[in-house]
Structures are given as structure tokens and as C-alpha cells.
Symmetry: C2
Subunit: 115 residues, 2 copies
DNA sequence: TTAATCTACAACCAGATGGTTGTAGATCTG
DNA sequence: CAGATCTACAACCATCTGGTTGTAGATTAA
């Protein structure tokens, strides 16, 4: 199947981050030692529900699973967290670009930007 | 009604960002000059659909609306974009804290961290 | 004033989402 | 081996979501 585009990855990542439980799982999994059932014990919901949340994080690339015997250890992938930060930096960049374009009009150093 | 908690704001902001159309509206609205109907003309969907997307961005605080005659001008609120960046930085901070806690155990400069 | 434009909002629909329970396969432990 | 634990996955359900159309109120333009 096709590999996801930037926009598709943004969809997955921000959607995964848009849930309290998932953000908490993400924080807890930074130790990289917690099994799915260990995580599940922390929340007032079924094991299957937590399993689904982990699956959403996994699909977004925010977390990876590593089998260790019968349990599945969850570890957050900071690279994807950083990717999310860069996505927001992208907005910042667009914003600054418009500011620059604007001040450029106001300060005609060498007049006539567009032909 | 109650003002939203940090987690509630995170829910709203990340959820708002988890949609391609909304991210695009956010970028376009950095000029702060586009009316809802002007925005709507850019997308292959009804005016009402775009109106709903703007409403989601508005509820998240990512955008503000300003009446100008009969049209409603949309402007992105960079402060909330920055708030989102800080939320991600928060994850980063948790991660680094765990790293520090870990290396602290490995390098007992003045042994016995906890009493 | 009348017509056109912009907005708001309700009602509706199909599909996604977040939860549940139940079943079954692997793996560890006694 | 037998039992307990961990995981995977299907089926189900209520609610949310992203889209539609339609109606109505304001404001501008002719």
C-alpha cells in the first residue's frame, strides 16, 4: 500500500494526540517498559479499550510495540513527537513569511517586488 | 460554564488540528483578511461545511472571528498555536526528566538522591 | 425598495470513534 | 499437564463527526 503523505501523517498524529487517555499513555510510555496490560491497569476502562488507544498511537507512529515473552512493551517514539513539533513550526514559518511579505511592501528597499 | 482545563484545551486544539481542511484554513487565515465565504470558495465542499470547520477552530481558540459589515473575517490566533507548541514541549520535558532520573542513578555524584 | 450576498443554524445521513463483552491463541507458572 | 495471564480480534452499541440541504435574518448594492 501507499506510504502516507505529510498531510496524512499530520492527520494521524494530531488525531492521536487529541485524546486525554492517549496523551497520558504517551507520557507513561516514555520509560519504554510498560506492557499494554500494565498500562490498562491505570485507567478506568477495559483492557480492550486501552489496547485500541495504543493501536491508534501505533498507527500514528507515536509509539512502537516490542514483544517480550507474552507481553507487548510499549515505547513512545520521540522522533514522531519531534515531527509533530516541526509541523507546528511549519505554521510558524508560514506566519513569519506573511509578515515578511507584508513589511517588504512597507519598506521598499529596492522598489517594485513583483514585475 | 466552567473554563476549560489544560487537558480540555489540549483536546480541542489537537482535535482541531487533526483535519486537513482545518489546517489549511488556519494557514490561509494568518493574513487575517479572509471572510468565511471567501475561504469557502477555496474548497470542494459547501459553505456550511467550511463554516463548521471554522467553528471548530474557533472553539479551540486557534482562530477568532471579527464582524466587518455583513461578512465575518477569520484570523488565526498565533498565541494558541504557540500554546500547542508548548504542549508538545511538555512531552519533551517529561521525556528529558525521565532521562535525567535515569542517568542520575547511573552517575551517583553525591550518592542517595531520595531520602 | 428590491435583489444579491453573507452568515447562522437546524435537520438529516453515512461513517468513524470510544467504549463494551466475548472468544481464542500464546506464553508463563505451579 | 493445568491454570493463570497477556494479547488479539470480532461484534455490538451509542455518540460524535463531516458532509449535505434548506430556511431565515442582516447587510450591501442597484
Amino acid at each position: 500500500m501507499e506510504q502516507p503523505t505529510d498531510e496524512e501523517r499530520a492527520d494521524l498524529v494530531f488525531n492521536a494526540l487529541a485524546d486525554r487517555t492517549r496523551r497520558d499513555i504517551l507520557r507513561r510510555s516514555m520509560d519504554g517498559e510498560l506492557s499494554v496490560s500494565a498500562l490498562a491497569r491505570s485507567y478506568a476502562m477495559s483492557f480492550a479499550a486501552v489496547q485500541k488507544h495504543v493501536a491508534v498511537l501505533d498507527r500514528a507512529g507515536l509509539v512502537t510495540k516490542h514483544r517480550h515473552g507474552r507481553e507487548q512493551l510499549v515505547r513512545t517514539d520521540m522522533a514522531t513527537v519531534h515531527a509533530a513539533q516541526r509541523m507546528l513550526d511549519g505554521f510558524e514559518a508560514v506566519w513569519r513569511a506573511r509578515i515578511d511579505r507584508f513589511t517588504d511592501v512597507l519598506t521598499p528597499t529596492h522598489q517594485g517586488g513583483a514585475p
